[in-house]
Amino acid sequence: MNENPSTEAFASHSARLAQIANPKSEIVHYGDDDPLPLDCGVKLAPFSIAYQTYGTLNAAKTNAVLVCHALTGDQHVANEHPVTGKSGWWETMVGPGKPIDTNRYFVICPNVIGGCMGSTGPASTNPATGKPYGLDFPVITIRDMVRAQARLLDHLGIPHLLCVLGGSMGGMQVLEWAATYKDRVYAAVPIACAARHSSQNIAFHEVGRQAVMADPDWCQGRYIDEGKSPRKGLAVARMAAHITYLSDETLHRKFGRNLQDREKVTFGFDADFQVESYLRHQGVSFVDRFDANSYLYITRAMDYFDLAADHGGVLANAFTGTATRFCLVSFTSDWLFPTEESREVVHALNAVAANVSFVEIETDKGHDAFLLEEPELLATIGGFVSAAALKRGVALPGEGELP
């Protein structure tokens, strides 16, 4: 990759760094006396959670919807991204009149612990040294992320969630929410996810991490102090990961074997094929908005996720006594989190006679389908959440509160 960081890249680089300590978001700080206990045994203090909200919390506090973001997502669900200037990552799903209707629900999306958009992560300043944590940041888990989110809800004065929803790693958080905070979750929508990270998925993550760590500019994780950034390593990690988000069919439909701005192959290693050029673009634009160490930590959190193992090896035990209404969604062409993984969760939920819906959506768009304009996905989730809201007595937009 012959990529020389341009002035533009440096501009976005500093815009990104600015979000770490001073995000363009709501933020709540927890002091030394208010630590976050982590699964690894460390008590993280101080720590911060950056978050966005949309809509208004009703008087009865029954319309709160928590959106959990995926590995490389952030809290900017439905507003312009402060670094890239692009629209929110789930504007097909969340917004006024959308399936998660912000005229009806109060939507909260926090940046995960370990992230790089304002919540405490490896790029944040370590109070012990006055420098960025780097690899001194404790290893975090999906449950740690969820614990932090629960603390945020406490801060916002929201005892119960109408719904928790998210795709991919966001879906893992949804499952963790349903298992750990049963009484706080009325409805849960885990999309394109699994109750554990598969061996193959851990393998892909390891490729990504090794790519980051092989970049000399990674500097053993201290690149911020050195004024560097492992751009190439992180871009390669993103390129490899991006392939897993798509399907063979999508790639073929989009690019086939088409050549990029040329009539014939060059007998060299330029991006002859459109698919190469596309992936390089994906890699490069990713490094402008994401921290390399955050990538290491968050992929690790996903690798460690195994809900059954946390409950005596029996997944159903995670959900014993649940009163939550579940709606699982998978996609036919998703090979990263195939339908079978969702079905296993459904079977575990059946085993405890939980209230569960399960929808597999026919699409050739692969894992990424959850972020895209998929009419059946939008109709299903909109209908499910709306029905849950009606049962909770949440008024339709334009109506008064139900008695």
Binding site: C327, N350, A353, N355, S357, V359, T380, G383, A387
Partner: protein
């Protein structure tokens, strides 16, 4: 129990099945119900609206499942042959299998699973002993095609058809108690209870059974 005569509207459309009202009437208010082969959720909606039942469904067709879930019904994509084993014993007050058992691969196993999962089982099926079915085979010498069994032999999903008599024998065999059995004629009317059993097997176009262990 008073059986309401199905309305003409219910009888005249092929999507609305005459057995559904009868089934709904067998379910007590507020019961825990699992509807297997719930289609687009017609019965689940009927149970929710008229009987205050917060039911669950299993449906094979993805389109059916998606339609149900988008309407707020709790339905999973699944299969009576494969997915019943995942439910615990006595998880439901009523397990309903309407017009589906004849399309399963292992009807006996399915029925045993139903009786394990539910305290009561409501099951409806087309009666292959109906006189029209018999006469098609006897006089035409072809596989029977009737209003309730319209498909040709090579494209029908119904691979395990039975008569009312056959079904009663299976219930005996697996020790299921028949609490109620109702035969419906071609117009969806209940056949008189005074009618002898062989007549029900001859004139009942479909049957609805309420079973328990």
């Amino acid at each position: 129990m008073n059986i309401t005569v199905p309305t003409p509207q219910l009888r005249s459309t092929d999507t609305a099945r005459v057995d559904l009202l009868l089934i709904a009437d067998m379910v007590t208010r507020g019961a825990r119900v699992l509807d297997i082969g719930c289609g687009d959720g017609l019965l689940l909606r009927l149970l929710a609206d008229k009987h205050g039942v917060d039911g669950r469904g299993i449906e094979l067709s993805q389109a059916g499942v998606n339609t149900c879930v988008a309407q707020g019904l709790s339905v999973i994509q699944g299969d009576a042959d494969r997915d019943l084993i995942y439910y615990p014993d006595h998880a439901f007050d009523y397990v309903i299998l309407s017009q589906t058992i004849q399309a399963t691969h292992r009807p006996r196993l399915v029925l045993e699973q139903l009786l394990r999962i539910g305290r009561h089982v409501v099951i409806s099926f087309p009666n292959f002993g109906h006189w029209r079915v018999r006469s098609e085979l006897l006089f035409k010498g072809t596989m029977p095609r009737t209003d309730t069994l319209p498909e040709r032999w090579y494209d029908t999903p119904n691979i395990h058809l039975c008569t009312i008599k056959d079904f009663v024998a299976l219930c005996d065999d697996i020790g299921a108690k028949v609490e109620r059995a109702v035969a419906l004629n071609a117009y969806g009317y209940r056949l008189g209870v005074s009618m002898p059993f062989f007549m029900q097997n001859l004139f009942g176009q479909q049957a609805v059974f309420l079973l328990s262990r």
